[in-house]
Subunit: 265 residues, 2 copies
């Protein structure tokens, strides 16, 4: 069976930092002519439309509904499981917008800890003592603690910067409670959420990522076919260090090689 | 032998919140006539002179050299062990002043991570993303990570607020390293530091605290005589739950009872 649905991790596969990896837009334009493309990222700071707009600038059309960020999945997961909630976000604008658009009421620092039903934690360059304090006191009083992801760092020009997982650690310590659920990779939750939205047989789906421990592992956990590209974190030598059963079904130097593979099938 | 040196934990023994426990100033004035008083607190936000001044308002004279905060001990410990260091403090004004007065160079957010030799973490109501980021990047590059204390919360009118331990958790997560040393209780470090400053036989020293798990435990770890007062965290029923050997030498309802005991000895 041909792969008709391709799920791309963004960082290390399509983007390096904030920019497209050179050559990738051309390849994606060609792939998207004959395949349905889905996008997946742990980044919780941006709204899905940011990706839609940026991809369109490169001539790649992708609907918002095929973009999944840890923030959008967090927002929709809470709504599907518990209905509309009063949520205090520790995160940036992307998270706030996703929560609001999923139907939630978004609270701010003026809220009373008692009225907060859930705390959603993402990466937040505006985090401060007051946010950590309000979030912790709400969680201590019984609010759900939901993490968009648990990445303790992310790379920037300044070096490794604190990520959502670092902010989460502080709230967990102060509230005396661990997160009730972590949405983003390496938890297979996000991919399983996407899987449900794809109307296709498992055999038609290919997961494309740059990390063995997150992208490939969560694809394999769901029994989906996986492809590793070597443009990001994982190198060829990393591959040889792990047991046969943890290895991806395919390994490609870059997306150009993936395109060739798809054409030849 | 008579107890001539009395080491008081401040919170729960002398203060409740920011105020003296009613009746305590009178008792302390009387005790200090015939005994040397030492003060000890995990609170890293205030300078020792704040305590000296506040005690003086109540007619109790105490030299700065007999007040030990987790911030002052942190500052002196680093100086004694490593000499003058370039330190980035994640803390409030009390910590900064203690570091400076101990002889260190205090760096701020304009510093480069490479020039920071040590990060000192205390409680900081002004903590923000930039501070956590700079601290984490410095620690990742090899700066020492020293915690004034590891208290994850402290009580306030608003409920339990995030403490130094909560801020530390975030830096530990983002730097991938645990604190090299934690100065404050329950680590016996602070009390052992004070012990060295007291010129007296062990038998002359009495440690007075309100917590079994911190004050009493660290006193016992140093083989010093300990007295529990019931004006703070620990209650009489807590006492019965622990093995004989972990119990304090004396238990007093309050400092008035301690005074009576000292007079009768």
């Amino acid at each position: 069976m041909k792969f008709s649905r391709l799920v791309f991790d963004i960082d290390g596969v399509i983007y390096r930092g904030r920019d497209f990896i050179p050559g990738v837009p051309e390849v994606l334009r060609e792939i998207s002519r004959e395949h349905e493309i889905y996008l997946l990222t742990n980044n919780s700071t941006r709204h899905r439309e940011d990706y839609v707009r940026r991809f369109l600038q490169e001539g790649i059309e992708i609907e918002k509904e095929r973009v999944f960020t840890s923030a959008s999945v967090t927002a929709e997961f809470i709504f599907e499981s518990f209905g509309k909630r009063r949520i205090f976000p520790v995160g940036e604008e992307g998270l706030e917008r996703e929560l609001r658009e999923a139907g939630h009421e978004v609270l701010d620092l003026s809220a009373d800890p008692g009225e907060i039903e859930a705390v959603a934690v993402g990466m937040d360059r505006g985090v401060n003592y007051e946010k950590i304090s309000l979030a912790s006191r709400a969680v201590r009083r019984g609010a759900m603690l939901i993490a968009t992801n648990q990445d303790v760092t992310f790379p920037s020009e300044r070096g490794l910067e604190p990520g959502a997982g670092s902010i989460l650690a502080s709230i967990e310590a102060a509230s005396g409670r661990k997160a009730d659920i972590v949405i983003g990779k390496p938890s297979p939750f996000m991919l399983s959420f996407i899987r449900k939205r794809i109307e296709a047989e498992d055999e038609e789906i290919l997961i494309i990522g740059d990390r063995l421990d997150t992208d490939i592992a969560s694809g394999k956990a769901l029994n989906l076919r996986t492809a590793l590209v070597l443009t990001g974190i994982t190198s060829k030598t990393d591959l040889n260090k792990i047991p046969e059963e943890d290895r991806p079904d395919y390994v490609f130097e870059d997306l150009r090689e993936l395109l060739k593979f798809l054409k030849e099938r």
